[in-house]
């Protein structure tokens, strides 16, 4: 899996800001599809790719 930057935003605003700041960013929920596709190189965040975890922020 290619390297990415992992964010755990505390608020919705933080999450939106994190996603908006990076073209390749994705929201991470359960991960069932996204992580599988990242392993396969289908979803390949570049070295600057961001992943914002939505499990721990406000729902």
């Amino acid at each position: 899996m290619r390297p990415f930057t992992y964010h755990r935003p505390a608020t919705s605003d933080d999450a939106i800001a994190a996603i908006g700041a990076e073209k390749e960013a994705r929201f991470l929920a359960g991960g069932t599809n996204l992580i599988d596709l990242m392993k396969m190189g289908v979803e390949h965040r570049g070295a600057s790719g961001w992943l914002a975890d939505r499990r721990h922020g406000p729902q």
């Binding site: 899996m1 390297p3 990415f4 755990r8 992580i35 599988d36 392993k39």
Partner: protein
Amino acid sequence: MKPDDKTRIAHVTRREFVGATVLAGGIASIPLAEAQTDTQDTHLVRCSIIINNQAHDLTLDPRVTLLDLLRENLHMTGSKKGCDHGQCGACTVLVNGRRINSCLSLAVQHEGDKITTIEGLPTGGELHPVQQAFIEYDAFQCGYCTPGQICSAVAMIEEVKAGDASAVTPHVSEQAAIQFTDDEIRERMSGNICRCGAYPNIVAAVRSVYGRNAA
């Protein structure tokens, strides 16, 4: 090879052999790994996870899956890596009591979560009732899928008790108690593949545990 060498090799377990081989390979590739770290500026993430009632404070590469954390970092090799793509269920563990495929979950996602693996199911030296039932009903052949099957069954029984409907539950709108039929067991355990085909005995084992609890 001298005869005494042969004797010594015979006493090395498969796990020791694989471990030593992987270690040797790892040492050979260390310069490469360091070079990658320098150029790619891998950022590490701190997280605290409770695994089998034991708190772990970890600093992890965010790419590490929960399964790899358990197996490679913490050496809890009960959870198995079958397909590593969420198809086989061999990696099933419990997160806050719910079953998930640990291969499709990043370890850093589980900040503050309570993880239970097959190693954490026994209490006070006694096997969990589902583990005991798998032995009684001979619910495995090679055993590779078994930790995942057992973790899955433990959570699945709780799902039925909580009234969660499955695809084969009839009359969902009537909200009657779910009948724990073999169809229900097969449907609900369908995320756990057994290449040996031990399904009939797995179904029997799971059925027996539910009957015991209900009685």
